[in-house]
């Protein structure tokens, strides 16, 4: 996922000032390598996306989104898959957003490096690096077996919540910290209580960044496959409740690609749907971050 947001504000450096010296061997070699790399990468990725479009675009239609999968997913649509995905996402957000926001508020408030804050930060760093399949193992052992939730949307959503938590907390803490200290002071000087200050001033001021963090978390959750196979399962039926097993979009792609002969077309079509969703979310993130930075500039 696009965890990083590269410099949105260019430093105003005049890049044309950097030039190669004509005829110098090294300059030429490096230039050739850089251009070749850029060209090859662009070509390979465009080829990849084009092939997905070529294989999958024919299947895409409104009915693809609104019909239930038939014949192991070779035919029909992905409606139940979309609903399962949404439910998994809903469980994931319902668990991770309150927890993440509260943790972010606390971490952003601790100006001094207390042992508690250091420990929480460090363990979140590790959590961010844990492979998704390990989350799958943990989710299976903890939610499915130990807590007896079985293969269910609930288990999958909660496992994803653990995964999305570090990225949520990190971006949300950044967003909250970016609200200038003067707002806290002004509010305190006006005799406003801490809760009201946070609810009416700090969190709204940070809302752009908070939403961006939320969207990043959603993106990560949507892209996840390995952690879901052993927690939410791969039943492609319409889930009736969060206690049912449900197949997420990414798991559907995997299953069609690996386990269903003749499933490639629908796999590619599903992948296109997933990509479109993710790219919409991505551009939403950039808008939000851009706006948020823009507003910060008014402050400072």
């Amino acid at each position: 996922m696009a965890e990083n947001v590269p410099s949105i504000l260019d430093q105003g450096l005049n890049l044309d000032a950097l030039v190669d010296q004509r005829g110098l061997f090294w300059d030429r070699l490096v230039r050739v390598f850089v251009y070749a790399a850029a060209g090859v990468v662009a070509f390979v990725f465009l080829a990849m996306v084009w092939q997905l479009v070529r294989l999958g675009a024919g299947q895409l239609s409104w009915s693809f989104l609104t019909e239930l999968p038939q014949n192991a997913g070779r035919e029909g649509g992905i409606f139940s898959i979309l609903i399962s995905t949404l439910m998994i996402l809903g469980v994931c957000l319902a668990a991770s957003v309150p927890l993440g926001l509260a943790s972010a508020v606390l971490l952003a408030q601790t100006q001094r490096q207390t042992l508690f804050a250091i420990l929480v930060r460090r363990s979140l760093d590790v959590l961010a690096g844990v492979p998704s399949i390990v989350f799958g193992l943990f989710g299976n052992a903890f939610f499915c077996v130990y807590l007896k939730m079985g293969f269910s949307i609930l288990s999958g959503g909660l496992t994803l919540a653990c995964m999305a938590l570090p990225i949520l907390i990190r971006t949300m803490e950044m967003a909250i910290r970016s609200v200038p200290q003067e707002v806290h002071h002004a509010s305190a000087a006006l005799g406003m209580g801490p809760i009201r200050t946070w609810v009416t001033l700090i969190l709204p001021a940070a809302s752009g960044g908070l939403a961006a963090g939320l969207v990043l978390g959603i993106g990560r959750a949507l892209a996840e496959t390995a952690a879901l196979i052993f927690t939410s399962g791969y039943v492609d039926r319409m889930p009736e409740s969060v206690h049912d097993s449900g197949r997420a979009l990414s798991v559907h792609i995997y299953d069609l690609a690996m386990n269903v002969p003749g499933g490639e077309a629908n796999a590619c079509a599903t992948a296109l749907v997933l990509l479109i969703i993710l790219w919409l979310l991505n551009s939403l993130t950039h808008r939000l971050i851009g706006r948020w930075l823009g507003r910060r500039l008014i402050y400072t």
Partner: protein, 285 residues
């Protein structure tokens, strides 16, 4: 019954006159005097203020002057206990508002801060609309909407901003000019009907014309509020102050000390301390 805690109810009472300024005789809440005794402020190991004792008389303007880094702002933030927002800060000594102990751990600081307003060096309106900026603290006091709208108009008239902004009350406060923003911040503080108003170099970030208007406003506020103004501008201090306190950083690294205090004319015309004389004249000449 402690007036610090009873404040909330009296402000929200509808019988309260809209403003002091239009009719000073109608002030229910008299400006309060504040006294500090042996006040020292530490930030971690660093001492910022050393055993300051002085009085801020009710209804008068006290100016605090002195070079940068001698603890004037620290003193100011003790008066409404904003100083405790710095996590490493530590305050010793006493501070009273009339006869009530500001530093006592049982003081309701929310109520205290509503009675002791503060204006910052840099205008700091919230990134909200103009009217919302004034209303927000009122909402937390539970004042009804129509009453809030009345207060918004009153205080904006008091600071002379009403005619400039009455057509765009719902536009962002950040669209105002620096001087307008500062007057909005003053209006926001006045809306709480404070008894004391602290001002930390309120004009230093403004252009001369805007600064002039704020200064004029300060003179207007005199007698309705107890005003404590930190300023680097000698001429301004002379124009607005009744009393002046001169601060100087001590040599032993023990933070700022109060070296002289007295009526405005005395400080500027017959300074007793030689540092005061040098500082006042140096800046004047």
């Amino acid at each position: 019954m402690n007036p610090i805690t009873s404040q909330t109810t009296s402000v929200s009472s509808p019988s309260l006159p809209l403003t002091c300024m239009s009719n000073p005789a109608a002030c229910i809440l008299q400006p309060a005097s504040m006294t500090v005794t042996d006040l020292s402020v530490f930030y971690g190991d660093h001492q910022a203020l050393d055993k300051v004792s002085m009085e801020f008389s009710a209804g008068l303007v006290t100016a605090l002057i002195g070079p940068s880094g001698c603890g004037k702002t620290s003193l100011l933030t003790c008066l409404n206990r904003l100083v405790q927002m710095v996590p490493t800060s530590r305050v010793t000594g006493q501070c009273f508002m009339d006869e009530f102990d500001v530093m006592s751990p049982t003081t309701d600081i929310i109520s205290l801060r509503r009675q002791v307003g503060m204006i910052f060096q840099k205008p700091n309106p919230f990134a909200l609309s103009i009217s919302r900026n004034i209303e927000l603290p009122l909402i937390s006091q539970g004042i009804k909407r129509h009453r809030r709208h009345e207060i918004v108009e009153e205080v904006l008239r008091d600071v002379g901003l009403w005619d400039e902004v009455k057509d765009r009350l719902h536009r962002s406060a950040l669209t105002l000019s620096g001087g307008q923003q500062q007057r909005l911040c003053i209006a926001r503080a006045l809306a709480l009907k404070p008894r004391v108003l602290l001002m930390d170099e309120p004009c230093s970030a403004l252009d001369p014309i805007a600064a002039g208007r704020v200064e004029e406003l300060i003179r207007k506020l005199r007698s309705c509020y107890t005003l404590v103004v930190v300023t680097h501008n000698m001429a301004q201090a002379q124009r607005i102050a009744d009393h002046v306190g001169v601060f100087w950083a001590s040599d032993e690294g023990r933070g700022g000390q109060l070296i002289e205090t007295g009526p405005c004319e005395q400080i500027f015309e017959q300074p007793r301390h030689k540092l005061t004389a040098a500082y006042v004249q140096g800046r004047q000449g």
